[in-house]
Point group: C2
Chain length 312, copies 2
């Protein structure tokens, strides 16, 4: 039975993805939705890249959905997604590695004041303060999932003290972990660099608000590499302008690309990155999607299934 | 016999250092040179922080010199340094750790294009290219000494491919090493991020010149955390302006503080840092100097003696 890639991508990008997916599973017949002229009722597997509901709607008979992306916050709420079809998100070790490298780069750059020195350079000012070692610096994570744990494993040998918070407490070697709203307050109070890597759900939308930021010590710094929807933008700007938060590194935004007139672009304490903390490696992603679809074809439970109630 | 700290520091800074040194070796009598009124001929140990020759000259009877700094390129050529007195440089594990963290921060920031994204942000441009993983990126070191090896140990678990060049070839686990001028050309040809951590000697002054930069592949990036004298400034600017070298991170300069009218400040491809790759931790440095002076007092060979012929 044919497989269709249903996406919000431009037609050419959708076709390029299909070429990679077809190469990764030559035993299957894969079509880009944009070119599919067959009977949608014959399609039992959809590969999904954030399709609009009307694009997904024709495929009502599907029995398995493989997301091309790791984040499924749009897909789980897609009204055209058949309620009973198992949905797998894409978990790619290359992407975990890319995320860990990206977060380590941001943590070290904040730890070593790169943004402050860049401001000094623009003013031709030569000035320095005493320096902390990584072992004197605490990094707290919102989220303790796959990607957060990959980051922790990379930061640990650098010497940072690590904290992690999640909905349900999870034991992680060498990391002090917290859960619940009391646990969150405790963790934030000891966090100098906060890394957001929690999934975006109804429970975490707007989590990074005035109250959360106030619970951080003065001078704390934020790295958001999860989703723009986690951050209440006005509260973030206020905390920076009052000097409570020292720096923010933002890789994700409520609207992407970030609109040209958005105040984040010109804020002296905000570093804007164009959603590059962990780019998908198409060749690698195609192979992982193929392996999961083969599991489904063999009657095995696919990997990385999403709990659609929970949202991730 | 009294010990004197002879330095190029301001009088108050010299006195603050003496207070720390005195606390680290209460059994000794330590004076700042600025306040010393005794007979210089009674002084057998000098702690030296880059003193001008006329400040060091009175202490002709010294039998041991402990540098307060790791770099001794000024001190070894100080004409007032008694030729026979053993000279130790300061090797502080805290400083190696600080250097490793500082270099890892620069390597990761270059690896992940922080400077390019900062330029995009100033133009409100959202644009990205495919991303490399650390394992697809080669970092080459000029120098394989204490500090370079500390950096390599930190970069290794991040996944980077590592190369190292020094005067005499040295085997380092997991690092491809090179020596001599042929070895240098070979290493440079495979280096995407070049880290300079070689000592400044007559042989390495001006090492980073047009010829060396031309041997790097197009798009390579430079991190200089050793000494300003290693770099031929005009050649560096030329390589950046021609687009051969993509970025330069400079922590050290021929004249420090970097003069306000220096072209490095405003160059779009140069990041200026005010000599902060590894700041001395005074309390820790005082303890290490004390331990080495105690070795000398016990008649043992002090640690970290400098080969004055070689210059480091």
């Amino acid at each position: 039975m044919p497989i269709v890639l249903v996406s919000n991508l431009a037609p050419d990008a959708e076709r390029r993805w299909v070429a990679l997916l077809q190469a990764a599973m030559p035993e299957e017949e894969i079509h880009p939705a944009v070119d599919f002229t067959g009977d949608p009722a014959t399609v039992d597997v959809v590969i999904a890249a954030n399709p609009a509901p009307d694009k997904l709607a024709p495929f009502g008979s599907i029995r398995f959905v493989q997301s091309l992306w790791a984040g499924v916050e749009h897909l789980v709420h897609n009204p055209a997604l058949p309620p009973a079809a198992p949905l797998a998100r894409l978990v790619d070790p290359n992407m975990s590695q890319a995320m860990a490298e990206g977060v380590a780069a941001h943590v070290l750059a904040l730890h070593r004041d790169h943004a402050r020195f860049a401001r000094s350079q623009r003013q031709r000012v030569w000035s320095k303060d005493p320096q902390k070692l990584a072992r004197e610096r605490t990094v707290g994570f919102l989220g303790t999932g796959e990607l957060a744990r990959a980051c922790m494993r990379m930061l640990q040998p650098l010497g940072f003290s690590l904290l992690g918070w999640s909905r349900h407490q999870r034991a992680i070697d060498g990391v002090a972990t917290f859960a619940g709203s009391d646990g969150l307050q405790t963790m934030l109070g000891g966090t100098e660099i906060l890394v957001n890597l929690t999934p975006l759900t109804a429970a975490t939308r707007g989590l990074i608000d005035a109250r959360l930021l106030a619970a951080l010590p003065k001078g704390a710094m934020l790295i958001n590499v999860a989703r723009g929807g986690h951050v209440v933008e006005a509260d973030l700007i206020d905390a920076l302008d009052r000097g409570h938060l020292a720096e923010a590194v933002l890789d994700v935004f409520e609207i992407e690309p970030l609109p040209a007139d958005h105040p984040f672009w010109a804020h002296p304490r905000i570093q804007v990155f164009p959603h590059v903390a962990a780019q998908t490696d198409p060749a690698s992603a195609a192979k992982i999607a193929a392996a999961n679809i083969r599991r489904f074809r063999r009657g095995e439970t696919p990997h990385d299934l999403v709990d659609r109630q929970r949202g991730y």
